[in-house]
Amino acid sequence: MKSVIVDQIIKTYRNKKSVVEALKGISFSVEPGEIFGIIGPDGAGKTSLFRILTTVLLADSGKASVDGFDVVADYKQIRNRVGYMPGKFSLYQDLSVRENLEFFATIFNTTIEKNYELIKEIYQQIEPFKTRKAGQLSGGMKQKLALCCALIHKPSVLFLDEPTTGVDAVSRKEFWEMLHRLKTQGISILVSTPYMDEAGQCDRIALMQKGEILSINTPKGVAGEFKKPLWAVKADEMFPLMNAIKKDPSVESCFPFGQYHHVVFKTDENNKERLEQITREGKYNHVEIQAIEPNIEDCFMALMKE
């Protein structure tokens, strides 16, 4: 039985002056014990989706189930067995670390001791601060606490809505390490993130943009769907180089990607030569040109343009 099944979910927000189609017919499923990533920027509909799946929001149409329970009819069962970490930090700022944990353990009819093994590794990192008020923790610490509170009752499915947003790279990395360890406990994890590089940490991903799913696959599979030729170019004069490349008619797109520009060509012909010509004409220094494999961001951007 699949952990999560989503079937043509539609959600539209109607306001006095505007209509926002947050979800335009989303369908996917999550296998037990999987880390499933929803990758997409703000406005993609991730939060709406998570709220519908955790039963705190009603979809306009479509069906969804978690652990076999329908999100509308059987919402009570779902609320008893899932862990949820919504986007904003949503624990009690004026309660201490320990008090927050006790609270959540108790409302889930369990105790901290009962499932301690599950949260031990994470909790040990914040244990020195257990009497500190949650509002006074750093971003990374808050995340860890929120994760503990979501896990305290050994949920079968974990919903994490943008748990790494606004958090620095080190804390992000640690967070993903924690998630991987959780996977071994058989918990299905549904996590959303705007950071494309985190896609590689998931078993399967769904790329979402403006209420629609662009692609569902393993990270490698998504890369495999990218058919066009991709080249990386670099020189000392990056900005003028980019403008020059963009002007070329055989170029589909040219975007900066850190040290290199990623250039997508329309066809397979003479791409290297084209680039060499452009760099020669511009008299750029320290030029490097190479063909590369696409990463998730390349794929996302290509799918966005379609």
């Binding site: 709220r51 955790t54 039963t55 929001l57 779902i78 609320r79 949503s90 509170c149």
Partner: protein, 378 residues
């Protein structure tokens, strides 16, 4: 470079900011509505409806003489726009009972042989008994009555050789010293309970929504119903504390005794607390931000309590539509109950009607607010 140009720049800076602020206000329709309409509503209310002036106050007359003089005076009094003669009574016990029932604010008592006394000794007495649990009104009423009596006395004297004197004897019931505190302690109790319970409860519930923690606790086995009750319990306890402190202060610092049964008073207060809590829950269902919750509480509870409970402005002096509105304000009933029990020393038999009304209101409010409590965010 200073001087004209710089000043010009700074004025421009200033004005552009002013313009921006105006745009913000204009575009926030809801606040704008209140800003423009509030003064209008206030003027209308204060100008036409809410007044300390007493009119049509209900009185009774106990005429033990029933002679020409007493009838004349009675007619004058009854005809006055200040008074509304609702009952003629025939014994002191009846007067007592009528006051207890809250039906009259003042009673005029003519002794036996009034005219006879006037004619033969040029001297007579009239007793005015007033309900001084609202000392200001009591004062005003007795003053009006005395004025009317003096007028009559004057008219007699116009045609006489020897002066006639009609002495009015005042008796202020429940509050002989006419202490203002007797009136405002019950009023303050109503206000405080409404404020603490309704406003703070609604703010507390909405705060969870605003902070995002509501989302998390909804996704748990915790029944939403229990969430509400848990939210209200601390305020219930705080209210008990508040009532205790108000009563202690009233008795020991303000010399306002608790004449009636303390247990009855406490019982009714608990009831009213629950009523207020239900209102708080109801408000929290609709409000999305703490600000809205607070504002709604102020507008729909605090102000009506202040204006319509009867403690600042006597209700019977308001135009009928406002009197009808005042019936819907729970604090009005609580205020009557507290005054009856604490100041007038009456028992449950005197306040069972008001209690029943409060109970009905509470049950209705609770049912609606629980029914409408959102088990989802939207």
């Amino acid at each position: 470079m200073y001087g004209g140009q710089q000043l010009n720049k700074e004025m421009k800076q200033f004005f552009i900011f002013v313009k921006k602020e105006c745009l913000h206000i204009w575009r926030d329709r809801r606040t704008l509505f209140i800003l423009i309409w509030m003064p209008v509503v206030q003027i209308v209310l204060y100008g036409f409806a809410l007044t300390n002036e007493v009119k049509n106050s209900k009185i009774a007359i106990f005429d033990q003489s029933r002679d020409q003089a007493t009838m004349a005076i009675s007619n004058e009094i009854a005809a006055s726009r200040y008074f509304n003669l609702v009952k003629n009574v025939y014994s002191y016990e009846q007067i007592g009972a009528t006051f207890r029932q809250g039906k009259i604010r003042m009673a005029v008592v003519f002794p036996r042989g009034f005219r006879y006394d006037l004619l033969h000794s040029n001297h007579a007495q009239i007793q005015l008994i007033a309900d001084a649990s609202d000392p200001n009104t009591a004062n005003t009423l007795t003053n009006y009555a005395t004025a009317i009596i003096n007028d009559y006395q004057q008219s007699l004297n116009n045609n006489a050789d020897l002066p006639y004197t009609i002495k009015t004897q005042l008796r202020m019931l429940y509050n002989p010293e006419l202490k203002g505190a007797y009136n405002f302690v019950p009023g303050v109790m109503a206000l405080v309970l409404m404020l603490v319970c309704a406003m703070m409860t609604s703010i507390s519930i909405v705060k969870e929504k605003e902070m995002g923690t509501m989302e998390v606790i909804l996704v748990s086995p915790l029944k939403p119903f229990r969430i509400i009750i848990a939210k209200t319990v601390p305020y219930l306890l705080v209210s008990m504390l508040n009532i205790a402190s108000i009563l202690l202060l009233s008795v020991y610092a303000l010399d306002v005794p608790i004449v009636g049964s303390l247990w009855l008073l406490l019982g009714e207060s608990v009831l009213f607390t629950i009523t207020s809590l239900s209102v708080g829950i109801l408000i929290s269902n609709g409000a999305k931000t703490q600000q809205t919750a607070m504002f709604t509480s102020m507008m729909s509870l605090f102000l009506p309590t202040l204006l319509f409970s009867g403690f600042l402005f006597p209700v019977e002096n308001m135009p009928i539509p406002l009197q009808v509105i005042s019936n819907v304000v729970p604090s009005k009933w609580y205020y009557i109950i507290v005054k009856s029990v604490m100041i007038k020393g009456l028992g449950f038999s005197a306040v069972w009607k008001e209690t029943l009304i409060l109970v009905a209101m509470t049950l209705t409010l609770l049912s609606i607010s629980i029914y409408k409590f959102k088990i989802r965010l939207a």
